[in-house]
Structures are given as C-alpha cells and as structure tokens.
Symmetry: C2
Subunit: 412 residues, 2 copies
Amino acid sequence: MAAIAVLGFGTVGSGVVDVIETHRELFAQRVGAPVYVKTVVDVRDFPDSPYAGKIVHDFAAVEDDPEIVTVVEAIGGRRIARDFTRRALAAGKNVVTSNKELVAYHGTELFALAREHGVRYLFEASVGGGIPIIRPMAQCLAANEITEVTGILNGTTNYILTRMINASLSFDEALKEAQALGYAEADPSADVLGHDACRKICILASLAFGAQISPDDVRIEGIDRVAAEDIALADTLGCRIKLLGRAQKLDDGTLYISVAPFLIPDGAPLARIDGVFNGITVRGDSVDEVLFCGRGAGKYPTASAVVADVLDTLRPGNAERRIEWGPALPGRLADCRQVSHRYLVRVHGDVKVALEAAEKLFGYIDVVPCDGVSIFDGAFTTPAPIPEGLLLARVEKMRAAGVTVANHLMFL
Amino acid sequence: MAAIAVLGFGTVGSGVVDVIETHRELFAQRVGAPVYVKTVVDVRDFPDSPYAGKIVHDFAAVEDDPEIVTVVEAIGGRRIARDFTRRALAAGKNVVTSNKELVAYHGTELFALAREHGVRYLFEASVGGGIPIIRPMAQCLAANEITEVTGILNGTTNYILTRMINASLSFDEALKEAQALGYAEADPSADVLGHDACRKICILASLAFGAQISPDDVRIEGIDRVAAEDIALADTLGCRIKLLGRAQKLDDGTLYISVAPFLIPDGAPLARIDGVFNGITVRGDSVDEVLFCGRGAGKYPTASAVVADVLDTLRPGNAERRIEWGPALPGRLADCRQVSHRYLVRVHGDVKVALEAAEKLFGYIDVVPCDGVSIFDGAFTTPAPIPEGLLLARVEKMRAAGVTVANHLMFL
C-alpha cells in the first residue's frame, strides 16, 4: 500500500485526488502496489466533497505519518509551500509539485535537501501542464547539448493573443473574455506581465544548462503593450505575435533568457499553437528540433503530470534517479542590451515626420504598409539585427525629437 | 568507465559512435563515469574511419567481454539482430535498439529475457527517430488510461505526400525525388506500402495497451494508390492526405489498429507536419491530447534517442526501471470490417452513370465538385460513418455494375 498526501485542495489538488482515486486498479498494476490518497491538508473544510473525510488542517498529521511515502504540494507560492516542502523532505518523504514559482526560485535548495534525505523532489507539472517536457528533456534528450528552448508557456496570454488575432478583439476585450471563461484570474498581472512564463522558462533553462537561473535575472516583457495595430502589422508581415519564453546558449557560451511577445513567421512550428494550448521547442546538437504541445494548464492535464511523478516515486530504483540542476554560476548570463534582434517599430501621430526621423537615426529602414491600421500609425522594420541597447537608445532619441513610438517588437 | 559496444556500423551505428565520442565530457558529467565505445561489430572493414581500430567481425568479442555494459543493436531485421540481442541479454548486458521490426515482432520475448538476466532492453529510437515518445508515454503519461495514439510515423511517405500536395507532383515524380535526396530507398516498398509505419504503431499500441500487438494482425494500406486526383479532392474538402498509424481503444474495449492514408482536416494538429517530419498525438483520459513532433529519422536524430537510452542504462537504479508490455491477449483486436468511417470515393469514366449507381447503393451521397481534376473523374463522400465491410461490399457492387472505382479514402 502506498499512501499519498495532498497539500492544498484547490483546482490542482482536487484534480490529483480525483485521478488517483478513479484509477486505483490501473495504478496498482503499474506500480505493483495499491496507491491511495490518505490525507488532504487544507485550511478550509469541504463538507460536500466525497473526500471530506481525508481533510485535515494540520500539516503535522502528514509529517508525522510514517505510512505516507509521497507528498503532493499543490499550495502554490513561496512561503507555506516552501516550509511544508522542506519539512516533508526532511521527514523522508518524496515531494511532487506543480509549483513553478517555488521550483524556479528554490529548486537548488530543495534538490539538495531531497538528496540529503534520500528522497526525490519532482516537478513535471510545473511547466506545460500535462505536456511531458521535464523528463523528456532530462532523459530522452540527454545525448544532446541543448542549445535553445523556446516556448509558448502561458495559456492565458496565448488565449488573449489568439483572440486578438483571430477575432480582432482589443486587448481589453480579449482579457475580459478570458476572465469570463476562467482562463484568466481577476488579477491577471502574473500572466499578462510575463511573470508566469518567466518562472517556467527559468525551470527549463536551469534544466537545459545545469545551473539555477533566477526569474529575477531575466529580461521580461509582458503582452500589455500589444495593441490591435501590432496584430494587424504582424499579419501584413506574414507573422503572428506570441508571448515566448526563450533560453539560448549564445556563441560566446553565455546564456540569454528572455520573456517577450515575439513576431513569429506563420510557418514556424509555434505559430499555430493557439488558444490555451502551450508548445515548447527544444533544440539539441544531435536531435535538431523537437516540439511538444498540449494543454498547458487545467485541472486534469496538470493532475496528469503530478500523478505521473507520484507513480514514479513509487517505482523501485527510485531514490537514485535525480532530475535536478546545480547552483547558479555567476557571470553566465548574457547582457540583454548586447543581444541583437530584428525589430518592428510602430510610430503614431504625424507618420511622415516620424518615419523621416527614424530613417535618419537607423540609416535604412523597411517601411511597413499600414493600410487597414489607421492613418495615424506608421511602422518600419530594421533590415538587419541590431543590439537591443542600440534600439532602445534610438527609440529614446526619436521620443526626444517629439515622435510617439507606440511599440517595438522583436522578430523570432 | 562504462564500455559500450555497437553492432552494425551503418547510418545509425556510426551516428551513435560519433555522438558518444564527441560528447565524452558531457556524458561523463551526466552519468558520473566516462562513457566510451570500446567495440564496433560489422562484417565490413572501415579502413578510412577514425574508428577503424574499434571494428571487429566476431560478435563473440562483445559477448565475452566483461567490461561491456551496454550493447547498441543497429543491425536491423529480425534474424541476426535477434540472435545477437538474445546472446547479449543472456550475457548480462543491457541492449539498446533502433530496430522497430525486432521490437514489434519479438518485444515480449526480449523483455522477458532482459528481466531474467537483470538487465534492460530499451527502444526509444524505434519510433519517431529523435522524438521522445516511448518514455513520455510509459512514464509521463502513466497517470492516464490511453485511449488513442495517432501518428505520422514514416518520413519517406510524408515527404512524398507533402510534395504531391505542395508541388503538385505525381506519386512517381515525388518518389523519384525522395530517392534522389536519400529519403527513400531503391526498394521503397516497406515505406510506401505502410509496413514501416505498421511496425511503429504496433510498438506504440503494445505500450499504450500493455500487450503485444503483432504487425501481422494489423489492417495496412499504403500510399501507392494515392493519386494526384485524390490530393486535389482532399484540397477541395479542406483536408490533407497523410499516412497515419492509428491505435484506438473502442467503446466496446477492443483495440483497432490501422495504417492507411487518411483525409485530415486542415486545422488538425497533424495536418501541417510536413516533409520528412514525424508527429504523434497521444490521447489520455486526464491529459486530453498531447503532440510530439520532430525529425523521425536520420543519422543524428536517431542516434540522439539511442544514446539517451544508453546513458539511461548507465544510471543507478537501472535494472528495475522497466519499459515493456505483456504477451498478446487473444480476442482483443477489433474486426476492421465492423469499424465505421466516413469515406471519400473517387470514380472514373462515365461520371454521371457512376454517381447514379453510387446513389442507388448508398441511398444518399455528397457529390464533391471535381473542377480542376478531370472530366473523367467524379467523387462523393458518405455523409455518415459506415462500417468498412459495408463500404467494400458496395464498392464491389459498383464494380460489378461496370463502374471504375479509382480509390476510396477514410476521413480521420
């Protein structure tokens, strides 16, 4: 008998309990012993739940229960979740989590603690919901030096952008719709400003490059500045705008990690991953590029990944199978301002004057036709990649000269 | 020191040696001990190869070498490969393979032998080249009851169909081009007739449903009957034709395994996986659907998957981590003739007479406009799914009445 505890009975936690309890027979067969949820820890009561009898309020009931082999942490955040995770690991229990924030910020510490106590800390569900990505990267692509990971990692923003593209909604309309459908939270800032995608790309980057990369060190840009005009311009350029998390090993060996809305050519693998779906491409020196996609969030897809990890902790030969990374290496991250991209720049107001000012500064620009946008909008692209620092300096100069620069976007 | 032997120094075998020898430092770090190729077995000599000194002609040199921990079988086929695999397992060595034919036909036997000798038989590279699929299905989706696996599993036929669709080539022209580019063999029958895709879907089906499914029991249809006219009709219907391997658990619990060219709606995830790329969707009761895609063949992508398995055999806690299935269960496969699909039927000759005959037999048909095909071609679709047996009987009746039925294709 393998007894499991679940911390937090919200969407993910209750999904995990459902999946374990409705697949008892299948799982008993797969791991060689019956698996069941013994205890659920939550501050709330759930008198109407079929699992009401399993609910306790005190984490000590899990910590002190020698029968519990594996603990699922579905609390979220970095405070209580971290405390309970440390205590569970110290008590000799495996911990499985969907908490990207905790893994992204404190992965190294928790891996070390797990190792010290001969147990595991697993986090397949922290990125891409139900999409298998952590284990495939750590194991199936182990023969590769990974050079790039790029992904649509946040379903909320992908839904908003997809609706702006396909239904010509404004950002605000698309956000309201996403909230009404339960795809966006009342306070959508962690999604819209790119923080959620940032935590996820940090986990993938840490795994790909073997050292902790903190979300605090990443260049983040959300989708809050993306306007209907940008969507229309992207279309003119044969591109779609997607919020991407990117982790690249540059030629000089430094790592460039970024989160931003990118212009993606329509034929690229990620261009048509729409709605709440996530997609992740991984490039390695032997495998070339592989793409994983599916539902990046949601109760059961996320529970699918959590429970796969739970089953893995119950298999023999478990303790030595580590998926982890080492401590941060100083000086390893590239200076964003030195990294070059091609850009689309949108100006507003007196378009003729603005484009003349741009041409003077940039030397040569490709003007983008703005039919169907508005007569007050103009746009151009840089014909060659230029460093972000230089782009920003020139944008500043244009602004100083009285030009309204409405937005600038990077090409993938 | 972990010594590896490679059997067969062809495309895959030499790729494996390259990948191991050029990543020595990385792999030593990943598995905790240096990894190197000690011996390569081939009937040929390779005097110009940098690895000429490793080549031996007698398998006994591997079998009797206590230093060799893991053997890579890259011979192919079912005769010598099976013999050497059995001997290597019996000698207490792990075996890693890219040989889909051997795994599809003799997986159960070889898993049992591996188990008996406390070693592993791994086969990630047997399906989808470098795309991680075997381990993600066995581990990351372990929380799911898998209900369907559908894939573009053969790069050669996908290249041919893509060129027929995108460049309006005939089947013969596209095949010749694929041969000139090295994507198709001089004798392309195993690819074109669907046998290669069949072995791969059998491996995925055996894994998904836990019991050996033999390629001999599968309904196979190749792409040799797909004509330019079918491609044009598919386009009219908003579809693309792809050779798919499908494994489905039907409502009555039986398994339906098939290989055939299917009409896929243009918006479906597999519709735009083109050229030599492979794509596989897996549907599970918790995760909904996930898609994996990438290069399904080629020297280094395949070597990437083989070497990932090699590294896995060198990790601690190895012997107990089994990825396998049980023996065949009789009576588990569905009767193909009872399974229903919607069909596109193309007739040739006197179109008016042919369609009248069809309408009489089918009761109601949707005639497909054939502008741009030829005045001697007509086509219709069945408005509702009908059992394949019934479709075939009606096609026979049409033929008996003198109608030329040129082709019939299933809708996904």
